[in-house]
């Protein structure tokens, strides 16, 4: 009996050693180069040593790697701050994570793949490759490359790091990915723990959601599974099954960047290749899936895969099938470029400035002539079902005729509103006949060609910039040279993408309603040809593209363009329009279109207000301000309160209203009921007074850039590089900040 017990004990001991060895694999202790840093983490048996060996260096940085774990470290010589790809600590010490999450912390890649039996699974580079010793470290110019071979999957994924002047570029070399079996690589979490902040670090994550948001480290919002996860440039409608298109109040990510400020040091990372297929993810510490770290990173797509219901039926989960696109995405590499600030007092405004400089250098932001403006969306008309003696017909309900628009603009001018940028929507025959909006023939019901010509002359004479709405992307039905059969982008099942309206209460697509199609990117050219012809015929000098017209999607047909190429295809067309001398107004465009937008509207003054977020910041505004003319979302539709007006002042964002001339009752029983409060007479006075107030601020700012911003206890300060400070007080009492008294619910300029 005793003997048996002893044997058992031995076995248990052996097993437990085994597990220790499993967690911390044997290491080759002889480093193969110059040791930059040695870290010993843990005590006694749990101790683990990380030896970082130099791979490359330049004037500002040293790039090093640990051979045993493939962790990399980046030493900033300017500040002395060291950034690690993964926390160089013994993970057994983490109080939160268990199981696979432990190896996730030590991984550079977390892989999502489809196996031979079409099951979607996850693995990570640490457990799948590093622990099995099947990886190879190769030196490359200015950096190092690590080939991770996932032995069981017969997949090799190379990752490469190269130094730049202000940081490094980290890449997943898509073109060198080898798949030797039927296991298909789908998506990867890349550098999940880069720069991960622990529980003792102070700082925040910067997320460009909407205007921008910060997430404080260790913010106690550690509900398990609460991970911020959002597609860069909004979700792809080709990858949304009919039952899964959801409604939301969410803002989108228009810039492929993220940032971190940690103990005063910080970086801004930009996805320079593959952003169209990337997701941005962030979480704070105390999360059972993440551990005791605050992280922000991207997830990249190598091959599109998503679930669709079989036979196009909306049915139970079990009959859904996972489909993979046959071919991987076309870009050769997925690249994230990290820019580190050399300041010890980095904040989100510093990071915004970094990005502004990058974009300026790239030519996406040019120093346009800045004049603070008033933006207005004018809605021409709407189809209304009417009945004449029991015969139902579509009547064109006029909301604002061309003459009425002219009178409205004249009234605004008379009221002292200068520098108007007007967007004219729903004025063309296309809108009423449910055609793709490339014909741009002014509707007779609104006054026809001549009245439009008068309006254009009026706007030109009075310095009003007017863009008429065009859209070469949304195809409501065949017509104008487009067919719903040949010219549509397809979903993964090779049937055209149909986008249905969403019901408010059941959150599902209303399959009974009329969907719209999306144009095959290869057919953009003829749409733009048609638009250009119309601008000649009717003398338009400006065009307006709304959010739907600017949406980014894939065509998943065989040989179709996926998102990463569609962005280029769209940019190409906007370049044509710009070259033809058209002034383009764009509604919250994505970064790759910044260069073509003369005016931007619908720039949000808030984020999606995720629970994870700790505050909204004018990150997007700080990037744009001083280089671009931009206005906010229609105040009378989103939020018309004084608070919202003050927010525009705080965020340095011009106002926009959506207006119609008719009484809002004209909208009853039409699709435009979202304009539930848009009649001009209701808002005329408010616009004039608010504009006058706003201009006192805007004149002081001029074309300065935003350099600092802070908000505390509902009082905010925005500082510009010409020394102007704008204080905004959202409280019900007057407050004094830095010697300046700001009245209740008011602002002050210094």
């Amino acid at each position: 009996m005793k003997k048996l017990f002893a044997v058992l004990l031995c076995v248990v001991l052996l097993l437990s050693f085994g597990t220790v060895a499993y967690a911390a694999p044997e290491k080759d202790t002889t480093p193969s180069g110059k040791v930059v840093e040695t870290i010993v983490s843990g005590k006694g048996d749990n101790a683990e040593t990380f030896v970082f060996v130099e791979a490359a260096s330049n004037d500002n940085f040293i790039l090093a790697y640990d051979e045993a774990t493939t962790f990399i470290s980046l030493t900033d010589k300017r500040t002395g701050q060291v950034w690690y790809s993964n926390p160089p600590v013994n993970i057994n010490a983490d109080p939160y994570v268990e199981g696979i999450a432990k190896t996730n912390i030590r991984s550079v890649l977390t892989l999502n793949y489809t196996n031979a039996s079409l099951k979607v699974k996850d693995t990570n580079s640490y457990s799948g490759s590093v622990m099995k010793g099947s990886y190879e470290i190769k030196p490359v110019k200015d950096g190092v490359r690590v080939d991770y071979t996932f032995k069981e999957l017969k997949v090799t994924i190379p990752v490469q790091y190269t130094l730049t002047d202000d940081g490094m570029i980290a890449e997943v070399l898509f073109k060198d990915i080898v798949e030797e079996s039927t296991n298909h690589v789908n998506t990867m979490d890349f550098l999940t723990y880069f720069g991960a902040a622990g529980e003792k670090d102070k700082g925040y994550l910067v997320i460009p959601d909407g205007a921008g948001a910060i997430v404080n480290f260790n913010n106690d919002k550690n509900v398990d599974g609460m991970i911020y996860n959002k597609e860069v440039y909004d979700f792809d409608k080709a990858c949304q099954t009919e039952s899964k298109q959801e409604t939301s109040n969410e803002e989108t990510i228009t810039m492929p960047v993220f940032g971190m400020v940690k103990n005063g040091y910080g970086f801004l990372a930009e996805v320079t290749s593959g952003a169209e297929m990337a997701k941005l993810r962030a979480a704070t510490s105390g999360n059972r899936l993440i551990g005791g770290y605050n992280i922000v990173h991207t997830n990249c797509t190598y091959r599109v895969n998503y679930e669709i219901p079989l036979m196009g039926q909306v049915s139970s989960e079990t009959s859904n099938a996972m489909y993979n696109a046959q071919d991987p995405v076309s870009n050769e590499t997925y690249a994230v470029q990290f820019h580190f600030t050399d300041s010890k007092e980095t904040n989100y405004m510093t990071l915004a400035a970094v990005y502004r400089e990058i974009l300026t250098e790239r030519g996406w932001l040019t120093k346009d002539e800045i004049s603070d403006r008033f933006y207005v969306d004018i809605y021409g008309g709407v189809n209304k079902k009417k009945s004449f003696f029991g015969v139902i017909y579509n009547a064109r309900q006029t909301l604002t005729s061309f003459a009425e628009a002219q009178a409205m603009l004249q009234d605004l001018l008379d009221g002292g509103v200068k520098n108007i940028t007007a967007s004219y929507l729903d004025y063309a025959n296309d809108h009423f006949t449910n055609d793709i909006e490339v014909g741009l023939v002014p509707s007779k019901s609104l006054g026809g060609k001549n009245a439009m010509a008068d309006l254009i002359k009026f706007t030109n004479d009075n310095g009003i910039k007017m863009g008429v709405k065009a859209n070469f992307v949304q195809l409501p039905s065949g017509g104008n040279g487009f067919s719903t059969f040949n010219d549509t982008a397809d979903a993964i099942n090779i049937s055209p993408i149909k986008v249905y309206p969403i019901s408010l209460n059941a959150n599902t697509t209303q399959l009974g309603k009329k969907p719209y199609y999306l144009v095959d990117p290869k057919a953009y050219g003829k749409g733009v040809d048609s638009i250009l012809a119309a601008t000649e015929t009717y003398g338009y000098s400006g065009l307006y593209f709304d959010e739907d017209a600017l949406q980014l999607y894939s065509d998943l047909n065989i040989g179709g363009l996926q998102r990463e190429r569609v962005s280029g295809a769209q940019a190409e067309q906007y370049a044509r329009l710009a070259e033809a001398g058209q002034e383009l107004t764009m509604s919250n465009p994505n970064a790759y279109l910044f260069a073509y937008a003369d005016y931007m509207t619908d720039i949000p003054v808030c984020s999606s207000k995720e629970i994870l977020f700790d505050g909204d910041v004018p990150f997007l505004q700080a990037v744009l301000r001083g280089s671009k003319n931009f206005g906010g979302e229609s105040m009378n539709i989103t939020d018309v309160s004084d608070e919202s007006f003050l927010r525009h002042i705080e965020f340095g964002t011009d106002m926009k209203y959506a207006l119609i001339n008719a009484d809002s009752e004209a909208l009853l029983n039409t699709e435009d009921s979202f304009l539930y409060s848009a009649t001009y007479t209701t808002f005329a006075e408010q616009i004039k007074t608010r504009y006058a107030e706003y201009m006192t601020v805007a004149d002081a700012i001029g074309d300065a850039t935003m350099v600092a911003h802070s908000a505390k206890n509902n009082v905010s300060v925005t500082e510009y590089d010409n020394g102007v400070k704008v204080y905004v007080n959202y409280t019900d009492e007057a407050v004094t900040v830095d010697g300046t008294t700001v009245e209740a619910m008011s602002y002050a300029i210094v």
Partner: protein, 699 residues
């Protein structure tokens, strides 16, 4: 055992927590239902002003109560401490002012709970906590020392076993009576005195004696137990939660059922009666099902604020529904998601002045919401109105519809205010926009009265003149100065013969065979009017009776229904005449039946006119008119066929029955053909799609 439960709880938590979709998409758009029960987007009525709890270290808060300007939150699940359950006390600025730990009476040892669920603080500060698994309601003094524990009341009325007694929510009224909501107890709330004396059930649902229920009761004798269990569902559903208003005059109960949406919220007076004006339908409408599962509203919490507005929380969609004190829906907001103002698992709501607090179990937070300008205006208008301050209520309601022209409730408010201000015509306009037929009818009645009064003198004058003229005419005729002409419509007396037939259908139709006094032209004119009058009725009937259906009226349906139906009847009847040895030809059937439509057409015209001058209260008159007119036409049809085909009474009845049967057969065949085509096309489409899949995907 306890440890085991704790482990289980953690596992459950894990399962539940991991199933939260990462960054679930938020909805959070506020809406309201219009008269058609379509959801209409409206501005947010409430906005989030604070989120409490990230720094309070709560684990699983289960219930909260606002009392004496303090917020009490019952937090559970502190497994690392002997005090696994604790009570947090927050002041008006949401600062923690106290944390009460529960102790046993003698030696300050920690009081042990099994499954604390509900919390109540009475006026003296005593703390009531329900312990579901312990089958107890514990009462603690204001310092957290146990005072009393109440077990299941010993009464013949409480029929179930001790183990089935699962108290989850508790409250007391100002007399100190304790009300307990017990899981699975459909009889209502248990009423007890503080010493545990059972007082009875409160707020029981009345069992509805529908025919179905009675039938089932009979069947139940032969049912298996499984079937019987299913029948249990027909019993009135239990309450899921309740609250009491500040004055203690009403208890508001909510139910979690998802199949019968009536009386989901009840405002119960001291006699146990539901006093809400609107009892009909609560929660979301027209949701359909998702993956075959109904996703109906299921209320799990309710609160009533200082102005009497009732807010209920829907655990299915994590939405808040706010109703007027009468039970009329004002707006719906909230939703599932990870954005501020959306929830994962809201477990309780509380009103604090005009603020609303929502407790989320998963996030362990309390979300504080305050009315926006829009919300404030709606509430202000409604409050003024219910206080009788009609003039004042007009202003806020007007602001509401300026901010949102979709908001029928706002127009209704304007209408009611104008009505009380005796501006009936303006009120009618507002009620018309609100699509409120009932109130429109009231305003119309008053308006009609006014018009009538103003028209009294001219009307009387006109009547007198007419009477005099008539008398003079008669007199002259009597004297022979005016010679009367006989009424001849056309075609040598055929027109006049119609009148005769209409008044004497049996004789008229029988003679018609022989005197040939019928005309195709007149019949066709009658059939045209048959169709035309139907269209007129659909288009021009008054709003009170017809709503706004004229706006969506499509003549196609009338063409198919009236003309198609008539033609089909004539055709089938003529065909069937072969079997019944009927003598009529097709043309004759057409003409005879064409004549029979005349009373119907006249009725339609009359109805259209009268519906524009009568109110809803006088609807019965219109009903009689319709019965009379339509009945007359039916009688005509009957005798037309009898006279034409020379049938006996019995044979005629049989022939009509067979005609109707024949029509159904024809319709069925048409329907069948149509369906076949649709199915064929959808089959072809599926095959095409499937082929495309295969071609593209390859596996």
């Amino acid at each position: 055992m306890k440890k085991c439960r704790a482990v289980l709880a953690i596992m459950l938590l894990l399962v539940m927590v991991l199933s939260i979709p990462a960054a679930a998409q938020g909805t959070g758009k506020a809406y309201v239902y219009n008269h058609n029960f379509d959801a209409q987007e409206i501005p947010d009525p409430y906005e989030v002003t604070a989120t409490i709890g990230y720094d309070l270290g709560m684990v699983t808060p289960v219930d909260m109560v606002v009392r004496n300007d303090k917020l009490y939150i019952l937090d559970t699940g502190h497994e690392d401490s002997e005090h696994s359950t604790r009570l947090l006390v927050l002041d008006k600025n949401y600062n923690k002012v106290d944390e009460i730990l529960f102790t046993n009476l003698r030696n300050d040892t920690a009081f042990s709970f099994q499954e604390p669920k509900g919390l109540w603080i009475d006026e003296e500060g005593y703390i009531y906590i329900t312990d579901r698994s312990a089958h107890m309601v514990h009462i603690f003094d204001p310092n957290g020392k146990i005072d009393n524990s109440l077990a299941k009341p010993q009464s013949a009325m409480v029929t179930y076993e001790d183990e089935a007694y699962l108290p989850t929510k508790v409250l007391t009224d100002h007399l100190g009576v304790i009300y307990i909501r017990v899981e699975n107890d459909y009889r209502g709330f248990i009423m007890m005195e503080k010493d545990g004396k059972f007082l009875g059930y409160f707020g029981s649902n009345e069992v509805t004696r529908t025919a179905e229920a009675i039938m089932l009761k009979m069947w139940s004798r032969w049912m298996t137990e499984e079937q019987l269990a299913r029948v249990q569902q027909l019993l009135p559903m239990e309450y899921s939660n309740f609250c009491i208003d500040e004055a203690g005059s009403f208890i508001y109960g909510v139910r979690a059922t998802t199949d019968d949406m009536n009386e989901l919220i009840r405002k119960i007076n001291c006699k146990g009666k539901n006093v809400l004006d609107y009892k009909e339908y609560f929660g979301d409408r027209n949701l359909g099902s998702i993956n075959g599962q109904p996703k109906n509203t299921s209320f799990n919490a309710v609160t009533v604020d200082d102005k009497g507005f009732i807010t209920a929380f829907d655990s299915t969609w994590q939405r808040l529904f706010q109703y007027t004190p009468e039970g009329n829906l004002m707006y719906v907001f909230g939703g599932t998601g990870s954005q501020v103002g959306t929830f994962v698992r809201g477990s309780d709501i509380e009103a604090w002045d005009d603020r609303l607090l929502v407790l989320d179990e998963v996030y362990a937070t309390v979300t504080v919401m305050e009315p926006t300008t829009f919300g404030k205006n709606v509430r202000l208008g409604e409050t003024y109105y219910s206080e009788g301050n009609y003039q004042a209520s007009l202003e806020p309601f007007k602001a509401v519809v300026t901010e949102c022209m979709n908001y029928e409730f706002g127009y209704q408010g304007i209408g009611k205010a104008l009505y009380m201000d005796r501006q009936y015509e303006a009120a009618m306009d507002a009620f018309y926009l609100a699509h409120d037929q009932e109130d429109y009818s009231m305003a119309f009645k008053m308006h009609r009265g006014e018009v009538m009064r103003s028209l009294t003198v001219p009307t009387l004058t006109a009547v007198i003149i007419l009477v005099v003229l008539w008398a003079v005419f008669k007199f002259l005729k009597y004297k022979g100065i005016i010679k009367s002409k006989k009424l001849v419509l056309d075609e040598s007396g055929k027109g006049k013969y119609i009148l005769h037939t209409l008044l004497h259908p049996i004789e008229g139709y029988e003679e018609m065979r022989y005197n040939k006094k019928y005309s195709l032209g007149i019949a066709n004119t009658a059939i045209f009017f048959f169709f035309f009058s139907s269209v007129i009725m659909a288009l021009y009937s008054g709003f009170i009776f017809n709503g706004k259906s004229a706006q969506n009226y499509n003549m196609i349906f009338t063409i198919c229904g009236v003309l198609g139906g008539f033609t089909l009847f004539v055709l089938v009847n003529w065909l069937m005449a072969t079997f019944f040895e009927g003598k009529g030809k097709f043309k004759e059937v057409w003409i005879y039946l064409g004549y029979a439509t005349i009373p119907y057409s006249v009725t339609c015209f009359l109805y259209t006119i009268l519906s524009n001058v009568l109110t809803a209260e006088e609807a019965t008159f219109l009903g009689y008119l319709q019965i009379l007119g339509y009945g007359w036409s039916l009688v005509m049809v009957f005798f037309a066929l009898q006279g034409l085909h020379m049938y006996s009474f019995k044979r005629n009845v049989a022939s009509i029955a067979v005609t109707i049967l024949g029509m159904l057969v024809v319709l069925f065949i048409i329907f069948l053909m149509f369906n076949l085509f649709v199915q064929f096309f959808s089959f072809a489409e599926s095959i095409f799609t499937e082929l495309m899949y295969r071609r593209a995907v390859g596996f």
